[in-house]
């Protein structure tokens, strides 16, 4: 037993040839967020606070697909969504369709704590944000040149682009451009076994206006209960169908699988190239499986293990989800 934390910046077809100038800032952000999360856990902050603060940090970073840096809808706009869940109480909050709220994850938490509801979306969510006085910015604040470029490429290729780490080439041998990347998330457990999960995203490049993905759907992209906390990333439509986050916990509870076994089982059952997740258990275990080329991720445990990675770790005895 001990605390543990894991976070991700999206799973997808991340090319091994990712240039240094695109890789370095992403890794630096993962490191920075991991440090923040670890410091908070060491200071005995509740996991619910920890996952929120880490995801806020990831949202504020322009290099990940959440908050600033969110990918664009087909109309060139940003529609952000997020979800947070408390493993002890199963309390949760979710938001969708945000265009001016700087930290969607914090608004999701306010929905959980300040309304009788769990999920608010679009105009209603924006109105609630104003009532609550959260930080808002003009929609243009969230839009980055990179994402304008991605949208342009996706429209030219006439596809809903999900892999944002590389432009879609006309004759790309990648799959149909449907391998998803994007979404940030964090899961944490303290040394009393309290669990929490948080996920946030801008969604899919060139998505239809009004499209909701897996992130704000409890049990799909985000879940936490007394057994584990899970945050998923990948192709939203596949994650919803497979109720990924809930299934990890259900396998532990109903079938007695360990965290690692349950997570691996779930990831394996989703079509290849479509999913990754981070999860921690009440016992302080961590796992970060994915069936995509890579997943931006980081984790640390009280026992001293820590890892920051993008692709599967080399097989020199250390698997990407080992705990020691």
């Amino acid at each position: 037993m001990g605390w543990a934390i894991a976070l991700h910046g999206g799973a997808g077809d991340i090319p091994f040839s990712l240039p240094e100038e695109r890789r370095a800032p992403r890794e630096a952000t993962l490191r920075h967020c991991l440090d923040l999360g670890v410091a908070a856990l060491r200071a005995n902050r509740p996991p619910l606070d920890v996952v929120e603060l880490v995801v806020r940090e990831l949202e504020n970073s322009p290099c990940y697909n959440a908050g600033k840096g969110s990918v664009l809808t087909t109309a060139g706009t940003v529609e952000m969504e997020a979800c947070i869940m408390d493993g002890n109480t199963n309390n949760c909050g979710a938001v969708s369709g945000l265009s001016t709220v700087v930290n969607a994850i914090s608004l999701a938490r306010l929905v959980m704590e300040k309304t009788p509801h769990i999920y608010l979306a679009f105009d209603g969510a924006e109105a609630f944000a104003r009532e609550q006085g959260v930080e808002i910015m003009d929609p243009s604040h969230f839009i980055t040149p990179e994402n304008i470029e991605r949208l342009k490429n996706a429209k030219e290729a006439n596809r809903v682009q999900i892999d944002y780490t590389q432009p879609i080439k006309a004759n790309s041998t990648n799959d149909q451009g449907d391998s998803q990347i994007g979404t940030v998330g964090c899961v944490a457990v303290d040394n009393h076994g309290n669990l929490a999960s948080a996920t946030s995203t801008g969604g899919l490049v060139n998505k239809m206006v009004g499209r909701i993905g897996d992130t704000p759907i409890i049990g799909s992209g985000t879940y936490a209960n007394p057994f584990c906390a899970v945050s998923a990333t990948g192709k939203g439509e596949s994650i919803i169908r497979a109720t990924v986050a809930r299934d990890v916990a259900a396998l532990m509870e109903y079938k007695g699988l360990s965290l690692k076994e349950a997570a691996a089982y779930v990831v394996e059952k989703v079509p290849k190239g479509n999913v990754g997740l981070v999860a921690v258990s009440a016992n302080g275990e961590v796992t970060m499986p994915f069936n995509t080329t890579g997943m931006f991720r980081a984790c640390a445990t009280e026992e001293g293990y820590s890892e920051i990675a993008i692709w599967p770790v080399d097989s020199n005895g250390i698997s990407e989800d080992s705990q020691k």
Partner: protein, 333 residues
């Protein structure tokens, strides 16, 4: 009995024990009509997915239940509907939320599943999609009934003060200063979703079917919670919460949306079967008993073997089922 088609429908869990008899009869008639139509289609070899859509369309169109016409109202007095549909074969799914002008949200959900690259569309984007698909659209006022306008007033009042709704209101809307609690025979206030049961509009309609080929499908549709915040999304459009279908079963839930979401109720029934090896009714009972905590909800389910199961921890659930063996029953309590 193994095999054979089966169908179950619901018109919402959480029924006022003092509901007038004519209202109960009216509800029963609608349920019987829907079951009969569904059973006839199944006898003729229709697919599960088509039957659940057809039956839920019926329920949406009839103003008796809280979906489509007759939907509960938002705090602004408007209607925002949501629905989802899932095909157990392949677990394809479609969902919509924030629908205000589409006559049959469940059909729009199906179109999202079949004609868009996504699984879930909401609000303006969903309405745009609907227009492009040429589905039947009406003014928002079409969905609003006099009765629900009245209920909204009561709900607003109840959110601040409890009162006895059976006493006729004098004036536009009043809360009597000497308001007492509405009590049932047991002397306890029946509450659902923060409202006394007397003014709580049962949420949601749903249908689950297993067809003669053993394919399962589920669909759920609702106007949501009376006096809800605009933009509030409940369990009905959320796959795994209000609706779920896989090879083994199909489930549709109703009741306190937030409790259903928290417990991912529909997925849990299937997970209990798949991962814990429970039978359909066992899984339904376990889910209702163990997963809801303080929450009030109900659900209907069918299994690939032609079984039907229902469970609820509320006072009543409008429901009915029919099987190939000839069973047909409708119940409220």
């Amino acid at each position: 009995m193994v095999g054979g088609w089966a169908i179950a429908v619901h018109g919402g869990a959480g029924v006022d024990p003092a509901l007038p008899v004519e209202r109960q009869e009216e509800a029963r008639r609608v349920l019987v009509r829907c079951l009969t139509a569904g059973a006839a289609a199944l006898r003729a070899g229709a697919l599960a997915l088509d039957v659940v859509e057809m039956v839920v369309r019926e329920l949406e169109t009839d103003p008796v239940f809280n979906s489509g016409r007759g939907s509960a109202l938002t705090r602004k007095g408007t209607v925002e509907m949501e629905a989802s549909i899932m095909d157990g074969r392949g677990r394809r799914c479609g969902a919509v939320s924030g629908i205000s002008t589409v006559k049959n949200p469940v059909s729009l959900a199906r179109l999202v599943m079949e004609r868009s690259p996504h699984s879930y569309l909401a609000f303006d984007g969903a309405e745009d999609f609907a227009r492009k698909q040429g589905v039947e659209m009406v003014d928002n006022s079409y969905f609003i009934t006099e009765e629900n306008l009245g209920m909204l007033k009561l709900a607003k009042a109840a959110n601040s003060i409890m009162f006895d709704y059976r006493v006729p209101l004098t004036g536009a809307d009043t809360c009597r200063a000497s308001a007492g609690l509405v009590a049932d025979v047991g002397g306890e206030m029946q509450m659902m979703n923060g409202l006394p049961i007397s003014i709580y509009a049962p949420e949601t309609v749903g249908c689950v079917v297993v067809d003669s080929a053993g394919r399962c499908a589920a669909a759920t549709s609702t106007g949501g919670l009376m006096n809800k915040m605009n933009g509030r999304i409940g369990d009905s459009p959320l796959i795994g919460s209000g609706t779920y279908a896989c090879d083994a079963c199909a489930v549709s839930c109703t009741g306190e949306g937030e409790a259903i979401i928290r417990s991912t109720l529909a997925r849990d029934v299937a997970a209990l079967m798949e991962y814990k090896g429970l039978g359909l009714q066992e899984a339904v009972d376990y889910a209702v008993k163990e997963r809801l905590d303080e929450g009030k909800a109900g659900l209907i389910a069918v299994g690939r073997n032609g079984e039907v199961a229902m469970g609820f921890n509320t006072v009543g659930m409008f429901r009915g089922c029919a099987t190939e063996e000839g069973l047909m029953e409708v119940a409220i309590w």
